[in-house]
C-alpha cells in the first residue's frame, strides 16, 4: 500500500456511471442490439409436476418469422445449469418440477413473433402428484420432487447442524425460557430491470454473452457446459445492470444458457429478455421459512442457550439453497454471545419455483426470530430492550455461535450505543407512551434490531473467495483498470476507482474502469455476499502497488521527483513505451483462510463480520391495521467507509426493502402456483412508504485485512430493517408477531389476539 495520505478514501466522489444513467445513455441489456439479432421466448410448464409425453413444434416452426424451436434433445453439451449441485436442466427433458420450468425455446425475427410461437408449441403432459409445502414434502409418502442424486434422501435437499455446549442441560436450569415459531414468505427482488441476456457468435467458434447479471463467471461456466465448449471460448460481458439484490446471482446462468443454445443453433445473435410477469413468476425469490426458536437466559438477561430448528422451502432444484441454508445456520444466534447452541437447518424440495439468493441470503429468516426472542426475554425480565442487547452483544475476544474467536473489527456495541443516542431511545419510548395514552386510533411503537453479517462466502465455499484485476498504463498516461466483480447499482465502480487512484497515487479522472469482461481477468468469483467491492479493491491495490513501484523506478531513472509523478504521468508513460517496460500488471486477492466442520457446524466461518443496529418508529392504525414507518435510525459498522454517499445509499435502499419485507411484500402460493400478476399485485414500497429523513451513521471498526480497513455493507441494511420494523409493530400493538408480512389483515388479527 502506498504511504501517501488516504485523501480520496472516505470522500463522497460522485459516481462516474451516474452521468450516462441520468442522460438515459447507459446501455442495459435490452438497449443493446446486434445485426441480424433474433428474439427468444420460452415455452414453460403449466404444471407443478408432470411427465412430458411429447412436444409438437411443427405448427410453431412454420409460423412467420420463426427461425427455430429447440427442446432438450437439441442441447449439444450437458443439459445442466451448473450452480452448486447439478440437478437443474436447461430444458426439461422428461419431467417438469415447477410451474414455469423451461421446456422449449423459440427464436424468431421479432419479439412478437417469438411470443406468438410459444403459444403454438403443443406439449403433452401427464400430470403427476405434486407437493408445494416443505413440511408435507418431508412426509414419507410425499411425491418425489428432488432429483434423487441431489438430495440427502426423499425431498430433503440439505440438513446441517450446529452444536456447541450443553443445550439441554442449560435449558433445564435457566431462569427464563421463551419460545416461538416464526414464518416468513416469499420476497421478490423486483429489480426494476427484468432479467435479460444476449448471446452473440464471437468468431472462431466462440460465443459472447452480454447481460444483466451479478456473476459473469457463473454464466461463463454454465454456458460452456451446456454448449460443450471450453471456457476460453465463452466470453461474458456485464451490461449495465438494473438492480439485482441476489436475484441475478444464479438465474442468469439459466437464461444465459437458453440464449446461448438458440444462438449456437441459429449461428445468429439472440436476445432473451423476460417481461415482468414472466420474471416474477419464474425466477428465484427469498426462501419462505419456518423457524422454531427457543431461548434460555439468566435473570440478569444474559443469554445462555438457543435451540433452533430451521426449514427453508427450496423449490424444485437446489440452485443456491445449500449456501443460503448454511448462512441461516451460522447466523442463527445473531450478534450475541451464546455459549450453548443447537441449530438444525433443513432445505426441502417442493414443486415450486427454485428459490435462491436475496440480499441477506438466509439470514433475515433467522433474524426475525432472534430479535423477537431477545425482546421477549427482556419483557419477561423487565429489562430495557437496548440494555439487554448491550449485555449480550459480542466484543473483541468473544466467541460467536460457531466458536469463532473474534478479535478485529467488532463494532456492534458501538453501533448500538450510537443508534440509541441518535434515536434518543429512552426519551423516545416515553414520548411514544405519552402519545399512546392520548391516542385511541393510532399507536406508536419503537423497535430495535441488531445484526451480524459474515462478509464474503465463508467456510462453505472458500475456493470462490478470490478476485483478480489488471491495470494497464496507456502510452498517454491514462490508466485502464479491469476487474471481475460487477456494478449492479451498489457503487462498486466508484469505490474501486477511489481505491485505484489512492493505490497508484494518481488523480482519479485519469483512470477508467471498464465493465466486466471474463476474457480480461481471472475468475473473480461472484458479486454477492457484500464481497464485490472489498475483493476487487484488494486485487486492484495489489496490482496498483506493483505498477506504482515500476512507475517510481522509471521516474527515478529520468530524475522525476516522486511528488511530480502524478502530474508528469504522460511523460513517464512515454518512457515506458520507448524503453519497453511492461505497462500492465495483474493483481490478485484472496481472503484469509476460513474453516468449518460440517459435523459440528463450528469453525472460523468468515474472515470478518459486519454489524448494524437499526431503530424504527412506526405508527399503527388500530382500526385499519395499517402500519407506517415514521422515523428511522440506522448505524452500521462496515469498517472504513470508502464513500459515505454510496454507503448511506446502500443503507437507505436496504431499509426500504426491509420495510417492504416486514409490512407488505409477499406472494401467496396455491397448488404450486404463485398468485401474482407482475408489479400490479406485488406491492413494493413507494416514496410514501419510507422514512425520507432516516438518520444514517457509521462507526468504523477497521478491518486490518480489508482495503483501507473496509468490510462489506451491501446486504446488512435489509437484514436489520425488517426486524426493527416488526419489533416496532410489536411494541405498538403489545403483541408478538410471528409471521410476515405485517399487512393490515395480519395486524388486525394480531390485535384481536390476547396480548
Amino acid at each position: 500500500m502506498n504511504e501517501a495520505p488516504a485523501t480520496l478514501i472516505g470522500t463522497a466522489i460522485a459516481r462516474p456511471d451516474a452521468v450516462d444513467k441520468v442522460r438515459g445513455e447507459a446501455r442495459f441489456v435490452d438497449d443493446l442490439a446486434f445485426p441480424g439479432m433474433l428474439h427468444a421466448a420460452v415455452v414453460r410448464s403449466p404444471h407443478p409436476h408432470a411427465r412430458i409425453l411429447g412436444i409438437h413444434a411443427e405448427a410453431a416452426r412454420s409460423m412467420p418469422g420463426v427461425v427455430v424451436v429447440l427442446t432438450a434433445a437439441d442441447v449439444p453439451g450437458e443439459n445442466i445449469v451448473h450452480v452448486i449441485v447439478d440437478d437443474q436442466p436447461a430444458l426439461a427433458a422428461d419431467v417438469v418440477r415447477y410451474i414455469g420450468e423451461p421446456v422449449a425455446l423459440v427464436a424468431a425475427e421479432t419479439r412478437r413473433a417469438a411470443r406468438a410461437a410459444v403459444d403454438a408449441v403443443r406439449v403433452d403432459y401427464e400430470p403427476l402428484p405434486f407437493v408445494a409445502s416443505p413440511l408435507a414434502a418431508l412426509e414419507p409418502d410425499a411425491p418425489q420432487v428432488a432429483v434423487p442424486s441431489a438430495a440427502e434422501g426423499g425431498n430433503l435437499f440439505n440438513r446441517m447442524v450446529l452444536v456447541k455446549g450443553d443445550v439441554d442441560g442449560t435449558f433445564a436450569v435457566a431462569d427464563v425460557v421463551v419460545e416461538g415459531t416464526y414464518e416468513t414468505g416469499y420476497q421478490e427482488h423486483a429489480y426494476l430491470e427484468t432479467q435479460g441476456m444476449i448471446a452473440v457468435p464471437d468468431g472462431l467458434g466462440a460465443i459472447a454473452i452480454y447481460g444483466s447479471m451479478q456473476c459473469p463467471f457463473y454464466v461463463q461456466n454454465a454456458v460452456a457446459k451446456v454448449l460443450g465448449l471450453p471456457l476460453a471460448k465463452v466470453r461474458v460481458v456485464a451490461a449495465a445492470t438494473g438492480g439485482a439484490f441476489g436475484g441475478k446471482e444464479d438465474v442468469p446462468s439459466l437464461l444465459g444458457s437458453l440464449a446461448a443454445l438458440l444462438s449456437s443453433a441459429t449461428r445468429r445473435p439472440v436476445k432473451l429478455v423476460l417481461d415482468r410477469e414472466e420474471d416474477v413468476l419464474t425466477t428465484s425469490k427469498r426462501h419462505p421459512s419456518r423457524v422454531f426458536y427457543r431461548t434460555a437466559a439468566r435473570a440478569d438477561g444474559t443469554l445462555l442457550a438457543i435451540d433452533v430448528d430451521i426449514v427453508l422451502n427450496a423449490g424444485a432444484y437446489q440452485t443456491l439453497s445449500s449456501a443460503v441454508l448454511w448462512r441461516s445456520l451460522v447466523t442463527a444466534a445473531g450478534p450475541y454471545r451464546v455459549p450453548n447452541v443447537r441449530v438444525v437447518a433443513r432445505s426441502v424440495a417442493t414443486n415450486t419455483v427454485p428459490n435462491g439468493a436475496f440480499r441477506g441470503f438466509g439470514s433475515p429468516q433467522v433474524i426475525f426470530p432472534h430479535e423477537s426472542q431477545i425482546d421477549l426475554v427482556a419483557e419477561r425480565l423487565g429489562i430495557d430492550r437496548v440494555e439487554i442487547r448491550r449485555r449480550n452483544v459480542l466484543h473483541s475476544g468473544d466467541r460467536t455461535s460457531t466458536d469463532h474467536l473474534v478479535r478485529d473489527s467488532v463494532g456492534i456495541a458501538e453501533t448500538l450505543d450510537r443508534a440509541a443516542e441518535l434515536a434518543d431511545w429512552t426519551a423516545r419510548l416515553e414520548r411514544a407512551a405519552t402519545y399512546n395514552r392520548a391516542s385511541r386510533e393510532t399507536k406508536r411503537g419503537v423497535g430495535v434490531a441488531c445484526v451480524l453479517y459474515g462478509v464474503g462466502l465463508g467456510g462453505k465455499a472458500p475456493f470462490l473467495d478470490k478476485a483478480g484485476a489488471t491495470i494497464k498504463l496507456e502510452p498517454d498516461g491514462s490508466i485502464a483498470v479491469a476487474i471481475g466483480t460487477v456494478e449492479i447499482g451498489q457503487g462498486l465502480t466508484t469505490a474501486v476507482l477511489q481505491v485505484a487512484a489512492e493505490g497508484l497515487g494518481v488523480p482519479i479522472d485519469r483512470i477508467h474502469l471498464s465493465p466486466v469482461d471474463t476474457s480480461r481477468v481471472p475468475d473473480s468469483g461472484p458479486t454477492v455476499a457484500s464481497r464485490g467491492t472489498m475483493m476487487s479493491a484488494l486485487a486492484v491495490l495489489d496490482a496498483a502497488g506493483r505498477l506504482r513501484e515500476r512507475i517510481e523506478r522509471v521516474a527515478k531513472a529520468h530524475r522525476i521527483a516522486k511528488r511530480e509523478i502524478a502530474q508528469r504521468l504522460p511523460e513517464i508513460a512515454r518512457f515506458f513505451w520507448l524503453e519497453n517496460f511492461d505497462p500492465a500488471v495483474e493483481g490478485w486477492a484472496s481472503t484469509e483462510p476460513v474453516s468449518w466442520d460440517p459435523a459440528t457446524g463450528l469453525g472460523d466461518v468468515y474472515p470478518v463480520y459486519a454489524y448494524a443496529t437499526h431503530i424504527a418508529e412506526v405508527e399503527v392504525n388500530v382500526d385499519t391495521g395499517e402500519a407506517h414507518v415514521v422515523d428511522y435510525v440506522a448505524v452500521h459498522d462496515s469498517g472504513r467507509i470508502l464513500n459515505r454517499v454510496l454507503a448511506s445509499g446502500q443503507v437507505e435502499g436496504g431499509v426500504a426493502q426491509g420495510i417492504g419485507f416486514a409490512l407488505m411484500e409477499t406472494i401467496e402460493e396455491k397448488d404450486g402456483r404463485l398468485i401474482v400478476n407482475g408489479l400490479t399485485t406485488y406491492r413494493l414500497p413507494t416514496i410514501r412508504d419510507v422514512p425520507l429523513a432516516a438518520a444514517v451513521d457509521f462507526v468504523e471498526a477497521l478491518f486490518p485485512a480489508g482495503p483501507f480497513g473496509m468490510k462489506g455493507i451491501g446486504e446488512v441494511p435489509v437484514m436489520a430493517a425488517h426486524a426493527a420494523v416488526a419489533r416496532a409493530v410489536a411494541h405498538a400493538t403489545g403483541r408478538n408477531p410471528t409471521r410476515y408480512p405485517l399487512d393490515p389483515p395480519r395486524i388486525k388479527s394480531l390485535l384481536g389476539e390476547k396480548p
Binding site: 459516481r15 444513467k21 426494476l192 449492479i488 435502499g653 426500504a656 408489479l679 400490479t680 419510507v690
Partner: protein, 156 residues
C-alpha cells in the same frame, strides 16, 4: 399505419400499428432507449415520458394516440454536454444507483418543476409516487429534486 409526431423537438414519422405502444416506437423504431420498460403494466413509471408537457406511462399509450403531439424523452433534456439542473442534482446527491428508474424519475420531476418552481415536500411526493425505485429508498431522490428546484429558482 403511418404516424407523425414530434420527439424532443424533432418531427418524426413512423410506420406502426394500433397494437404497438409508444414505448416500443421510442425504443425500437427511434432507438431512444433511455425510456425504460420496468413492468409494461403502468405500475413502475420507468417508461415515463412527457406528452404535450404532461408525464405519462409510455407503456400504456398506443402509438397512434401521439399523432400530431409532442413527446419529450430523457434524451431531450440535457443541453448537449450540459446536464439539465435536475440531472446534475441527481448525480451529485447520489440519487442514482442502478439507474434503471432514473430517466422516469427525472422526467416526472421535470414535469413538476415546470408547473411549480417551488414545490413543497408533499407536492414532490405526489409528483413521484407513480415511480418505483428498488435501490435508493427514495430519500436522495427527494433531496435531488429539492436541490434542483432551488438552483433553478436562483438562475432560471
Amino acid at each position: 399505419m403511418n404516424i407523425r409526431f414530434a420527439v424532443n423537438g424533432r418531427e418524426v414519422s413512423v410506420e406502426t400499428d394500433a397494437e404497438t405502444r409508444l414505448l416500443d416506437v421510442l425504443r425500437e423504431d427511434l432507438h431512444l432507449t433511455g425510456t425504460k420498460e420496468g413492468c409494461g403494466e403502468g405500475e413502475c413509471g420507468a417508461c415515463t415520458v412527457l406528452l404535450d408537457g404532461l408525464p405519462v406511462n409510455s407503456c400504456l399509450i398506443p402509438a397512434p394516440q401521439v399523432e400530431g403531439r409532442e413527446v419529450l424523452t430523457i434524451e431531450g433534456l440535457a443541453d448537449g454536454h450540459r446536464l439539465h439542473p435536475l440531472q446534475a442534482a441527481f448525480v451529485e446527491q447520489g440519487a442514482v444507483q442502478c439507474g434503471f428508474c432514473t430517466p422516469g424519475f427525472v422526467l416526472s420531476a421535470y414535469a413538476l418543476l415546470r408547473s411549480n418552481s417551488a414545490p413543497t415536500d408533499e407536492e414532490i411526493l405526489t409528483a413521484l409516487e407513480g415511480n418505483l425505485c428498488r435501490c435508493t429508498g427514495y430519500g436522495k431522490i427527494v433531496s435531488a429534486v429539492r436541490t434542483a428546484a432551488e438552483r433553478m429558482r436562483e438562475s432560471p
